[in-house]
Symmetry: C2
Subunit: 227 residues, 2 copies
């Protein structure tokens, strides 16, 4: 489903070069479940931003369902992002002037889902993530973990083909964290390709395949024995 070939991304800051991605190769089959781990600054979020079409590499190839992403214009990238990709951001990026319900429902509005169906699907997710009583609250009225769960709901509501989650449980207690992982794994069980960046080794181990990054490179890629 995904092929990354010699992907490079270098930031030039002052006199220095930061190799955020350094000749990275990766192949991901549809329906795969991968965790991405590694030290702070190793390039995990940068990798996810490339996969999510939020950023473009300096060189190398990204083929998604056999289509070459570098050949696409901004219009087409946005189309693919809106229809095929769900993203849980490390910093949430909720829209302040929309409440929880409106934030979660936004992807459905962007893909033309009618109001009644939107309401049902948003209600279901609010319930599942323990957010029902906060549906009308705005991000600044929510706790850190509540905001994180709104970001997760927004990412999954369209059941995207590819789901990218950047530290989805960093601000969640073990109970909410287990709920979220349960939800993500259930979606993967239905065929959604799932990548989870995490610093929590316990979470990372649950993935069928585990990637480790360091200094912009993939230094290990292992499959769980029992899967």
């Amino acid at each position: 489903m995904i092929v990354l070939e010699q992907l490079c991304k270098t930031y030039h800051l002052g006199g220095e070069s930061v190799h955020a991605l350094d000749h990275l190769d990766l192949q991901i089959a549809a329906g795969d479940y991968l965790s991405v781990m590694g030290p702070s600054g190793s390039g995990k979020s940068t990798l996810l931003n490339m996969l999510g079409l939020l950023d473009t590499p300096d060189s190398g190839h990204y083929r998604l369902e056999q289509q070459e992403m570098s050949a696409l214009g901004e219009e087409q990238r946005a189309q693919i992002r809106n229809h095929k990709i769900g993203f849980v951001f490390q910093a949430y990026h909720l829209i302040d002037r929309l409440n929880a319900r409106e934030n979660i429902e936004l992807p459905l509005i962007l893909t033309g889902v009618p109001p009644r169906e939107r309401r049902t699907r948003v209600d279901e997710l609010l319930e599942r993530l323990g957010l029902s009583r906060h549906a009308a609250h705005h991000p600044h009225q929510l706790s850190g973990g509540q905001r994180q769960r709104v970001a997760i709901a927004r990412a999954v509501i369209r059941r995207p083909a590819l789901l990218l989650a950047d530290e989805p449980t960093g601000n969640l207690d073990s109970h909410s964290g287990a709920e979220v992982i349960g939800l993500l794994e259930e979606l993967n069980g239905e065929g959604i390709t799932l990548l989870v960046v995490t610093h929590d080794p316990a979470m990372g181990k649950r993935a069928r395949r585990q990637l480790w990054m360091q200094d912009g490179q993939l230094i290990s890629d292992t499959r769980n024995r029992d899967s």
Copy 2:
């Protein structure tokens, strides 16, 4: 050092009341080391905001070093905040137009520390937290964990009497996380009163005293046996 008596904070949203803090009592001795744990939305950040003078309760008392905080004007609160309290925010709150060095140095500028001494102290902390090569970078050029470490450096640089850390390792790999905890515990060893909100039970257990919150209440307060 700190006495909280029947502290209450209620948010009124739409028709509902959210009891973020519900008649909370707490006493903290100078030099104590406490962790604060509990489900998402239980009031941990709200408690820290009260202690950090970032927010005022609806009722109840907060005495810091025997001084009644509710009797103070905004000027005096700001004075105490700037001189006595260090805060690591759950959402970092770095200043975008300042680079890492400038963000960290800000509290020293606010308390009149001369430039040469500032430089030395900031360099030390950058080094300690693995940020030296990022000193000139702005928050948007930093990874999630790098931003978190800048927020931590800024909170500790003045060696405040009271250090409040809200999820200080949520976006850090185990190595950086251990570095941070080591630093916070070292400061506590020097007499700084330390409160750490965390979702990580392993981190919470390290504190000499562990508080658990639920629905705005303190439901348990235990001391480690071996301390």
